[in-house]
Symmetry: C2
Subunit: 385 residues, 2 copies
Amino acid sequence: MTAMTAGPALASGPRTLRLRSVELAGGGRLDDVEVAYETYGELAEDGDNAVLVCHALSGDAHVAASDADDGTTRPGWWDVMVGPGKAIDTERYFVICSNVLGGCSGTTGPGSTDSETGEPFGLKFPLVTIEDMVDVQAALLDAIGVPRLRAVVGGSMGGMQALSWALRYPERVGSCIGIATTWRLGAQAIAFNEVGRTAILGDPHFAGGDYYDGPRPEHGLATARMVGHITYLSEESMRAKFGRRLRERDAHAFDFVTEFEVESYLAYQGRKFVERFDANTYLYMTKAMDYFDLCANATDPSEVFAWSPVRFLLLTFTSDWLFPTYQSREIVGAMQRVGADVTFAEIESPYGHDAFLLEPEAQAEVMAPFLGSLDGWRARREVSS
Amino acid sequence: MTAMTAGPALASGPRTLRLRSVELAGGGRLDDVEVAYETYGELAEDGDNAVLVCHALSGDAHVAASDADDGTTRPGWWDVMVGPGKAIDTERYFVICSNVLGGCSGTTGPGSTDSETGEPFGLKFPLVTIEDMVDVQAALLDAIGVPRLRAVVGGSMGGMQALSWALRYPERVGSCIGIATTWRLGAQAIAFNEVGRTAILGDPHFAGGDYYDGPRPEHGLATARMVGHITYLSEESMRAKFGRRLRERDAHAFDFVTEFEVESYLAYQGRKFVERFDANTYLYMTKAMDYFDLCANATDPSEVFAWSPVRFLLLTFTSDWLFPTYQSREIVGAMQRVGADVTFAEIESPYGHDAFLLEPEAQAEVMAPFLGSLDGWRARREVSS
């Protein structure tokens, strides 16, 4: 890590904001939306140090370590990047992270109670889009007094949100940092999502999504997670990490049991996931990703970036085959054709899609100076105000 | 196609041979094993024109087109390569193809009746290996009077059998042609197989493998097939074939229905598969592939090829990420280090692993002359006899 080792950031701890209603991109409205969020560091007087971090499919608001009530430290999902002295330095920036709309970690989602019925929504919860997630984040920032963002940052599905922020709220965003992400999900990634959904929907405990009072569709969700995990790693890293090694045995069992280490790893990932994640939210998140197409309404992707005041930084990883570099290159090309301010780097890494969680140094090397410089933004703000 | 268009080959039609017993590599023995096979063309008087084709995971003995009883033509799974005038020319070669041990298309497998109980074996069927499949094929050839093979050919799991033939019966094999295959399955491919098995084993209709009298684990098997299909295609070909196109609609449904063409394609592949394939056989075939390690007992893979009299041809495809080229290069390198006779070609193709079914011209270009030349083999046979 490039970062100094330091204690947990000055953290707000989990908080919840209630929004009276949210209008959805797919039509319809959600009332009484709760948004779970956390903040780290302090908002500067000039308000120019706010950084919104957007989480990926299975993330939550707890992006960085904080002190728990019992005196222990509760690790965050992006501790390698966010904290005192880290690339997203909580001694310098005011970092906000919220659980996305449709989530299962505090923000209203399919597992929340539908006030009309007094029961959990289940599949009666409306499909939400990346744009809806972003609109909820914007409403949250309004409510907590953060009128503008120095940067919005995210990896994977978080990167989709960051890109969407730049288009929906260009005047509120200084920089957009999208990591291991894409401007529209490709056929292969949609296909993997559909396999996961098929596994969940076919679980006998799924019960049409109304399983909250009984056994949960754990087998389906675990299977979905197993598929997902394969796509987060690279062939290369799986080879290095597991190869053909057997777990706790010297010879094949000649039986249908877990034998290879890679099988054991996937089974563990599946088991661990069902303890903390809701199957319905998995359905909603994957669908939101499938629907995401940043330039869906443009005849040429370049259009949407013409005159954009936002500075873009896009990072990809060589071995990420789920969100392959060529997709970021496409959108970087579109930005460049209209003279948008874009920096792009492909980072050499064997870790596949998960590299955004595992390669702090290489990301920090580009991200920290990019975040540090906001002269352009200040100048633009002065001109436009 | 390079091939002339010609009618179906002179074909034997489906036949069955019964073997009294088969000793298995994993220990144990199977009695009364039926082997479904078909032949095409005629065995030459000198016996030098026999070509054994080995099928992949979901294949069967019907490798090439033949006339059905009702006067129609029944297509074969490798019509593009096998038939009159094709690369594996049934006017020149005597082609044999049999359903593998553990299969569900005529050869004894988990769906066959266990003579001890009078019920289908289910999971009481012993785990079979690629080596067992090959031994059964060798017994079949003994029984039908084919003492030696000009070539043994196969793609994917069929290629594993071809490689295994070359090591188990080197004196009976002139050439070994392995296409889109590997000498040992890698961690990522094992992981995908495990996802498929998990989907099947968790299907409530699986019933511990004893589902033959009731509803079958169709959902699990279809899910497994969906995952499989993604790995058979390349990201590039999925993008070209489906992109983000919606099926029969202009806008998103905002509901959990099949919307994208790629989803519809996968669902169709899943549905079609369960009509013709047995879930238990899927378990056994994937396990046999996982276990396959051609050089498991050697300290150096080169060892097993020292003094091998077999000519090898290994073909891979640039976009095949399930059986990537590097794996074939590894074994080609091992062969070369001990001076084995090996030809290797990586064929440029966008079709991923399925290219062995979809790229007849490029395969024929290398394979037809390789098959045509057997001077070396004849000379060796004369020396050794």
